[in-house]
């Protein structure tokens, strides 16, 4: 992509952050070393009760995985963002988060007193901290996306984590279709079988998106997505969105 990078940062493994991403912005996520996981949740900053709904997103696109062409829906039938590029092909949104107890059980948790900023943080607490900055509490958490992570399902329903899913340099790009509060962390996927607590950095970049064309890949990916984009259009008719 030839777009200018407006902002670029690297989130080390096992950390968390949050930001409001404006409509018409691209967020490009790059797995620097391979094997990364980035947990993410989405809210409407103008009405925090509107939030990412993984079941709605999956069932309306008849998919279990997320990849290019898929849109991430709010519970109000609108699209927070579309996946416009993906070099990986499979991202999980049903397995939830690592927890303090889970990290302790699997990797033997290391506290801040012992390890300072190399402590073993977990995804659930990361979302609690970032959400609280906007008045959100534990009741507001939902099933999150786990970018870069693949959990496949066999015929009998059994689930298996694929540790080879994301290679160094792999990337996925989101185009935001409305202003969105984004909570994110780089704590390990809860099904990661690594022997040691995995710390995998993710580079995240903000870029200006091109306007959405009539023949946009995500909009046409499913007839449902066309209706989702129409819901966004109606929403922006009635609100003071940053891009009008």
């Amino acid at each position: 992509m030839s777009h200018d990078v407006l902002y670029r940062d690297e989130l080390p493994g096992g950390k968390h952050w949050s930001m409001v991403v404006k409509r018409g912005t691209l967020l490009r996520l790059t797995d620097k070393d391979g094997g990364a996981n980035m947990g993410m949740l989405f809210y409407n900053p103008a009405n925090l009760l509107e939030r990412y709904n993984a079941p709605d997103s999956l069932k309306c696109q008849h998919t279990f995985k997320l990849t290019r062409g898929n849109c991430l829906y709010s519970d109000m039938g609108r699209i927070f963002c579309s996946i416009v590029e993906d070099s990986i092909g499979w991202h999980d949104t049903v397995c939830g988060n690592s927890t303090k107890a889970g990290v302790a059980r699997k990797w033997g948790g290391v506290d801040y007193q012992t390890a300072r900023n190399d402590w073993t943080q977990n995804g659930h607490d990361s979302f609690l901290v970032e959400g609280a900055k906007y008045g959100l509490g534990r009741r507001d958490l939902a099933a999150n996306v786990n970018w870069f992570s693949k959990v496949a399902v066999a015929e009998d329903g059994s689930m298996s984590f694929d540790p080879t899913n994301s290679k160094a340099g792999a990337h996925v790009t989101l185009r935001f279709e409305m202003d969105t509060l984004v909570l994110l962390h780089t704590c390990p996927h809860p099904l990661n079988p690594a022997a040691d607590y995995p710390r995998r950095p993710v580079i995240y970049e903000l870029l200006k998106a091109d306007p959405v064309s009539d023949d946009d890949f995500c909009k046409g990916f499913r007839p449902e997505n066309g209706r989702g984009f129409e819901n966004n259009r109606i929403y922006h008719l009635c609100s003071c969105g940053s891009e009008g």
């Binding site: 309306c60 049903v94 939830g96 209706r227 989702g228």
Partner: protein
């Protein structure tokens, strides 16, 4: 997995029919056994659970499927909260598989799934919103409307990552039964969906039953 129950409906302490489009909100105590019957077949009972002691603790679909390593629910499934605590365990099931990936219908999601002009058709999340608002004393609100179980629904995942909606495995009179491990609030929307072939476009009543532990012994 199919496992029948030996409990007699005549011994149930609660026995109620819930019509399609309605909701059922009740407390079930630790040790009590709770059954949902699909009276006419291929209905969906969209169900949420909360801790009766602290309703901010609730059923977590993510924790439940991840910890059991399987996306489908049946006998032996331990229904976990977002704190990882056991809320209920499925102890009998004559259907064999229940969904917890597909979520619940909403007026807004109906616009995306079916057509924009479907937006005023009744939906599960409207029933839940009415339930929590009519029962304000419980302290529940839209924030607590999370990802649910669809008892009797069949939503297979394919190995290549597709999600399909198949005809239900359920049939008239089939049921699922679970034992509460903590005092829980049960909130069911008996799904009013008229646009989905999985219920043959015909939402029908369910029956709920509760037994005391002592009577089941």
């Amino acid at each position: 997995m199919i496992k029948e129950s030996n409990l007699s409906p005549a011994a149930a302490v609660i026995r109620q029919t819930v019509k399609a489009g309605g909701y059922w909100l009740e407390k079930v105590k630790a040790g009590q056994i709770f059954r949902i019957v699909d009276l006419e077949g291929n209905q969906a009972a969209d169900t949420l659970f909360y801790s009766a002691v602290d309703p901010s603790e609730r059923y977590s679909a993510e924790n439940t499927i991840r910890e059991q390593g399987n996306v489908y629910l049946s006998v032996g499934s331990k229904l976990l909260s977002q704190d990882g605590n056991l809320m209920l365990e499925i102890t009998a099931d004559t259907v064999g598989r229940h969904d917890t990936l597909g979520g619940a219908c909403a007026t807004e999601s109906n616009t995306v799934r079916y057509a924009l002009e479907k937006k005023t058709m009744h939906a599960c999340r409207d029933s839940w919103l009415l339930a929590v608002t009519e029962n304000d004393h419980l302290g529940l609100s839209k924030r607590d409307i999370a990802h649910n179980i669809n008892f009797f629904m069949n939503v297979p995942v394919t190995p290549d990552g597709g999600l399909t909606f198949e005809d239900g495995l359920s049939a008239p009179g089939k049921y699922v039964e679970m034992t509460a491990a903590m005092d829980v609030i049960v909130l069911i929307s008996n799904c009013p969906q008229l646009n989905n072939p999985c219920n043959a476009y015909n939402p029908t009543p369910i029956e709920v039953m509760v037994w005391d532990q002592a009577q089941s012994a």
